[in-house]
Amino acid sequence: MSTPLPRPKKKDPQKRSVAATRPPEMRSRAAMHLTAAAAEGRLVMQCCSECNELLYPPRDACSNCLSTDLSIQDIASGGQLIAETTIHASPRLFFRERLPWRTGTIKLDAGPVILAHVHPDVTKHARVQVEHRLDRAGQGVFLALPEQATPHMEDEPMMRELSANPKHRRIFLTDAKSPHAPALARALLKAGASEIYAGEPESWRPHPNAAVLKDLGVEILPMDVTDEASVRKIAGEIGGKTDILINTAQFMRPGGILSRGDTGFARDELEINYLGLMRLAQAFGPSMCARTADGVNSAVAWVNLLSVGALTNAQPFGAFSASQAGAYSISQALRSEFRSAGLRVMHVFSGPTEEDEWYQQLPPPKVTSNALGRAVVDGLERGLEDVWCGDIAKDFRDRFRRDPKVLERELTMGEDGA
């Protein structure tokens, strides 16, 4: 695109909102292994472990040696566009509404031949860079981009459908008091967000973020995720303008189960981290789902910031980890409940963060708010579903995937005794 995507005009209130339609969702189980990789932005192929043949489309036995020992491998992203077509007729509503749509045959440097979405800036028969993204049905698809990035490449309608780009979108941070709120606001504004709202609980208590956010032009609204009426009220006011919701509300205290001595802080952890998320979803979910096809600034993503303790319980934050596990499970439920509307649920996992004072006693590496902000923006720009921010998060992920039981053991070691 030679000109950047212009800021959308105000919506005509007399017009019906376009309902969401989706690309086809059906995939075989083997193909969903590719989707799982696309959720993290990884370009992969199925590979035969016995003869190393790369197999595409994904299948259940190697077409070279008939072995059923198949795995998923990351591959190089280069390829050649060897044939293309621009579709002008499709019986599938999603594509019908977005014609013409360019698609092509790519010969990957890694070997296999794939079909892919082709960016309008790719010249005929050129070399391409292939990316693996999730489409609006939440399934993995290949995207062929020009080898060198072109100006405003991300602004193409095709790219807007294959991402949750914050550019020109209105974003709601659910807790202005989160230590990460200022950095998130900065990162999102830099990425082109048109408006940022932030919910502020307990306005009767001062907090340092208020001035900072105000300076950034963030609109502060009173909202407490533990107060059902408050959440509904704000959802009633801005739910129809929330294109991306980032849940920054979090309550955390150190302590395992026994050391706490009571359930007081645990109740707060559940109230905010678990029930708060549920209240937000009930209040904001329907309006966001109704607007996923609402033009340039359609509703597009729900972002949860989670501790890696969600994956497996991590002391000395045992009780907090439990609340994160609950929040994670709710988010997974939301994935199924938002799926038909095409609303992406993105998890950004991190280990201990620098700005969160309760992590003070844990050793580095810690994730800074700026890094978290960059990870959120990058995840939205690439339409990711699972983002692992920082070394600890990646380490947890890798160990968990290798063997969750071994990781559980590693994290629950006792003290040296007799």
Partner: protein, 258 residues
Amino acid sequence: MSTLMDFASNIANGKTKVIDLTHTLDPDFPVIVLPPEFGQCARFRMEEISCYDHRGPAWKWHNISMSEHTGTHFDAPAHWISGRDLPNASVDEIDVKNFIGPICVIDCSDGANQNDDFELTVDIIKDWEAIHGTIPPNTWVFMRTGWSKRKGMEYLNMKEDGPHSPGPTPEAVRLLVEERDIRGFGVETVGTDAGQGAHYIPPYPAHFYLHGAGKFGLQCLCNLDQLPATGAVLLAAPLKIKNGTGSPLRVLALVDNE
């Protein structure tokens, strides 16, 4: 007619006014905030069970949650360490006749208007008594400050060194408790002690001395400006919570209508 019947008809005909000294219990009302490592006072929350809908077609109701010390509330002697060993120290054991009684209102609004940390001192009490007479035993004493009119952040008025709101000096409390034998102390702020009360010796002297002597506290009162300095009668009965240290309640004052 009996005294009680006269009393009832006086309320009905407006000869006796009923003043509501209670803040509405709502989720936005501030509660006391302690250092983050300590257990905190729950805010008032309401969850709808149903609202004439599929969850309950012909009725509306809520589940509510709060601390004993949320909103306009009563402090029992069991609330403070100094009162822990006293008999009848919890709300369910206090003799109910204590929930009705006369009120003396000491107006500190001018002072509080000019100084967030305004102190109720022995001198102020003595000056008040010079006009209105000695405070009788078993009376409620209210410190009127106008603080109930403050909204939002100005109510707790938290600065970098903690909250700043008016309250009594240790000497003033000792005078009221040990020499005047008052029944209880009531305030418009979130605590019977001053916002900076932690810095007195002993810390939080109002709680310390009041509850140590089996006396009561009332917090987050409002409309004290509608009460005469003397002559109003208080109705303040906390919930009968087992081993409770206090409860939100409806605080009413009866005043002769002149």
